[in-house]
Amino acid sequence: FSPHPSHYLLSQVIMKITRNCQDELDKQLDPHVSGVLLGLINENKRVLEVTHCFPLMNSDTDESMEINREHMLEMERSLRSVNIDYQQVGFYQSTYLNTHCDRNFLDSVFDYLEEMNEAIAIIYDPLKTKLGHLSLRAFKLSSAAFNLYKAEKDFTAEMLRDNMVTYENLFQEIPVVVKNSSLTNVLLCELGHVQDTTSYFTLPTSSYLEKSMQLLLGGLDEINQDLLKINKYQKSVYKKQTDMMKYIQDRKEENDRMIREGLKPLPEEDVNELFKDPAPVGRLESLLSANRITSHCDMIEEHVKSGIGKLYLADSFMS
């Protein structure tokens, strides 16, 4: 698992992703759009270059998943004939406000990583881009988390501790570098100064903040539920211990009594078989929730910081 310093993206890819996600958003069919990234690994510079991408349909039903698979194979074959890199290096997904950290995402990242060590997942946030900041982040499972997930699909607390996996280092964020060829730069010059209608000066609107807070509360609720489950589990473990002790104690007393009365003692039974261990609670969901909550907090903090500045600006205008 060699660490790569960064990943290059061609600007064309960014435009395609943006266009695809924005279109789907406008059509309001489904805000969750995904697609495949293609590219190659540059061994000399040890970077991953993403040079092309194409969208896939929503894979909700089995039928659409089958269609997607065929689509991918067809594209691979066709792109070869026009000299486009056809190796899949990851996937991209559009999600609102960092709600991407769930089981499906983890599974997809894991699948791609299994095939290729350097696969990445790109998350595009259309809302944030509308506010004026291009929001494109690349993620990858950290090597510790990858090894753990490979071994076991659900974790217990001991496994997490042993492997030093916390919610912070579950996903590793990779810096994204945009690279353009010279001809593309010429095209950019030709496109000239773009009329920028989006303003960075939108005041921190309550709807964006409200939505973020709602998501934060949702995440906290989930963690709370997980905590309750963990508590219950610990109580049941404790209960099992006490029950076991009590049983052994009773048995001993019985045996002593029997020996005193001159009867044969009862056979020793294996205590462990009588009292089964309660099933340990999986910690994966709480990890993911914690991750999600932290990213929400980060986002809100950033938003608030710039919001305060903008408020002062507005103040100076109006007074």
Binding site: S11, D26, L188, L191, V194, H303, G309
Partner: protein
């Protein structure tokens, strides 16, 4: 590879195109303007850079939709083709197949034309154009000058109009059509971001406060320009322009005219909301971190 290529003679024999044209079956809808999405241009440049060594130009299909005299071009893909002095051939099956696939993912897109790199339009262009005419009655031909003649990358869009004598020698002529490069808001954000990177290959800067400072500087510069203009007009150096004056009035009046008390109250309450939210998020984050550390220790 050659299995995919079909020469035009073979193809035309199959569908008897000339017969169709003679019956006037294809009715070309009027095309007054072409609106191109920036992604298409990036695609063309990219496919040009990936061409085989012996090709002088690349061609490909343009996809999009047509609406009331305007063609919207939103997607494109390269099509393998070969061109020699004697003949030209292209992968027509390939083009049809890929356009079908694109239609599956994006249901309201269809073939609306084709592109080629290099500004030259020759006989081969009209042959290729006739192929595309079958799929869309009035295809648009986009050329992107990758050879950078005149130190610029010129983009031209053409459609063909029939000329000639009916029942005699007929042909078609490529006439230019006005075009516009337009994208949605998000695309503009992207483009602006790329403009910032032009020439340098540095890491993108998604940092909020720095961008605000940058926009502030921009705005200050713009205000200075306007101020200079207003000063010059009031000193009588430049004649008045009613249109500009009206727009300036609109800008100045768009600031809401409220009492200073209400303004301060609003701002203060807003500020307090933001601070409360920031405090809560900070608290949440510390709580999570503490929980995780305890988990490590116990």
């Amino acid at each position: 590879e050659y299995g995919e290529f079909q020469t035009f003679q073979h193809y035309f024999k199959q569908i008897n195109l000339s017969k169709m044209a003679a019956e006037g079956r294809t009715v070309a809808p009027p095309v007054r303007k072409v609106i191109i999405h920036p992604v298409v241009l990036f695609n063309i440049v990219d496919s040009f850079e990936r061409r085989n060594d012996n090709c002088k130009r690349v061609i490909g299909t343009l996809m999009g939709r047509y609406d009331k005299g305007v063609i919207y071009v939103t997607e494109s893909f390269a099509v393998p083709h070969q061109e020699t002095d004697e003949e030209v051939s292209m992968g027509m099956d390939y083009a049809m197949r890929i356009s079908e696939m694109q239609k599956k993912v994006n249901t309201n897109m269809y073939t609306v034309g084709w592109y080629s790199s290099g500004i030259q339009i020759n006989d081969y262009s009209s042959l290729i154009h006739s192929f595309y005419k079958v799929q869309f009655p009035s295809p648009v031909h986009l050329t992107l000058d990758t050879a950078l003649k005149e130190q610029k990358m010129k983009i031209n869009t053409h459609i063909t109009l029939p000329i000639g004598v009916k029942n005699g020698t007929e042909g078609c002529i490529f006439t230019p059509v006005p075009h516009e490069i337009k994208g949605s808001e998000a695309d503009q954000v992207c483009l602006k971001f790329f403009q910032g990177l032009k020439g340098t290959r540095k890491t993108p800067n998604f940092n909020d406060p720095e961008q605000i400072v940058h926009s502030c500087d921009d705005m200050m510069a713009q205000i200075n320009v306007i101020l200079g203009y207003v000063k010059q007009v009031s000193a009588g150096e430049i004649p008045m322009d009613k249109e500009i004056g009206r727009q300036l009035m609109e800008v100045v009046q768009s600031i809401p005219n409220l009492e200073s008390d209400t303004i301060t109250n609003m701002l203060n309450s807003h500020m307090q909301d933001l601070l409360a939210v920031e405090y809560l998020t900070y608290l949440t984050r510390q709580q999570l971190a503490i929980g995780a550390r305890i988990n490590q220790i116990l």
